[in-house]
Symmetry: C2
Subunit: 228 residues, 2 copies
């Protein structure tokens, strides 16, 4: 029995928060198929390369984010036969969460607000992959300390709260949020510095702690189920 062989790619959903919006890295397609549409940055894996290694390499080569500490995790694998019109490609998607970084050095990739991106035509099934990545990020904010991956090394509680509010599209009570995150064990490490970059009374700066889980979880306000 012969074993079919096919191309395996890695596609990257890279999210950040900038200018009060949730943004993703888009790749500008300048040749068919889907010329003019956007796609996710990605590429084919090499024969001697592990999947996370390929994701890191492509993060540098295609997303222009070399030497940057970014949270990277596997998202899901997409493989229905016609997803690429040229050939059968199975794609392993990775999710990356980044702080607000300068735009990439490559002209072909740029940060775009996901709301805008979803209005435009997407190449392949990349709209679906982007949506899955956003949903994963939203869900993980609830029960992990991943929100800090969107922040610079030192940040205030209010900046962290804005991450939650923007990613979830909700508003949170600043006072209860403050109590919750400063009370969570090993989530935030206080520094002795403060900042007034957001105006008002100086806010204490924190660094990310080593807790991975957030227990009890941060509850995302649900759209109240139809009361009827």
């Amino acid at each position: 029995m012969s074993v079919p062989r096919l191309a395996v790619s890695v596609d990257l959903v890279v999210l950040t928060v900038r200018e009060q919006r949730l943004c993703a890295l888009r790749w500008r397609r300048d040749r068919p198929p889907y010329e003019g549409a956007w796609s996710l940055p990605g590429g084919f894996i090499q024969l001697d390369e592990d999947l996370p290694v390929a994701a890191s390499r492509l993060m540098a080569e295609r997303a222009g984010l070399a030497d940057v500490r970014i949270h990277l995790e596997q998202l899901a694998t997409y493989g229905y036969p016609d997803r690429d019109p040229r050939q059968r490609v199975v794609s392993v998607a990775y999710l990356g969460l980044a702080p607000d970084l300068p735009a990439s050095s490559r002209a072909q990739v740029l940060w775009t607000a996901v709301d805008d991106l979803l209005q435009e035509e997407a190449a392949f099934d990349h709209r679906r992959i982007l949506c899955d990545g956003m949903e994963r990020a939203r869900a993980k904010l609830e029960y992990t300390s991943l929100a800090a991956a969107f922040c610079p090394p030192e940040f205030t509680v209010a900046e962290l709260r804005r991450v939650y509010e923007i990613v979830w599209g909700t508003s949170l009570d600043p006072r209860n949020f403050h109590r919750k995150v400063t009370g969570a064990d090993r989530f935030l490490i206080p520094t002795d510095r403060t900042t007034t970059r957001d105006g008002g009374r100086p806010a204490r700066l924190y660094r990310r702690g080593d807790a991975e889980q957030l227990r009890p979880p941060m509850l995302r306000p649900r759209p109240t189920e139809r009361p009827n």
Copy 2:
């Protein structure tokens, strides 16, 4: 630039609860590599086949579970270069949750308690995949209604509780558990039948409701963090 092509397989972590233990389907390897070790049932995908379709096909062909309603979801993808000594294989693992079924018709596959399986030598990285599948199942019991996937069509609250206890390896208060699951919206649909198969006072039989999420979640008792 040439695109490397490689073999893509689907491996199945199929879990059930039988005889008070968490069991998985094992494949008995009767030829190298890893002759004598166990592996997960699986096989290569076809060129014209979507991933979930391949998983269903292999569930029938290799796991011997055709025509059975089983919850199937994608688990993760494993692809480091030397995981199969014969050739480079990227494997997409699927997680299946089944009620207590008769043993497969194939002699090569059989249910084995996961505790025993983890004592034996595993082929490839299948021990790791099995562990990832168990962890996914444990986590999903917390916030979804998936536990019912381990039960027959009609079941009692105590049977459902035993699923939680066996999968989590903890014990739960029967009274609080009863209130929690019968109170959860659309989780359980009461029938008008009862059973005494577990002894004692007759227990009402329930069918699975259409709720997917369990809110608020069922809390898994955590090993109390070292009190030091």
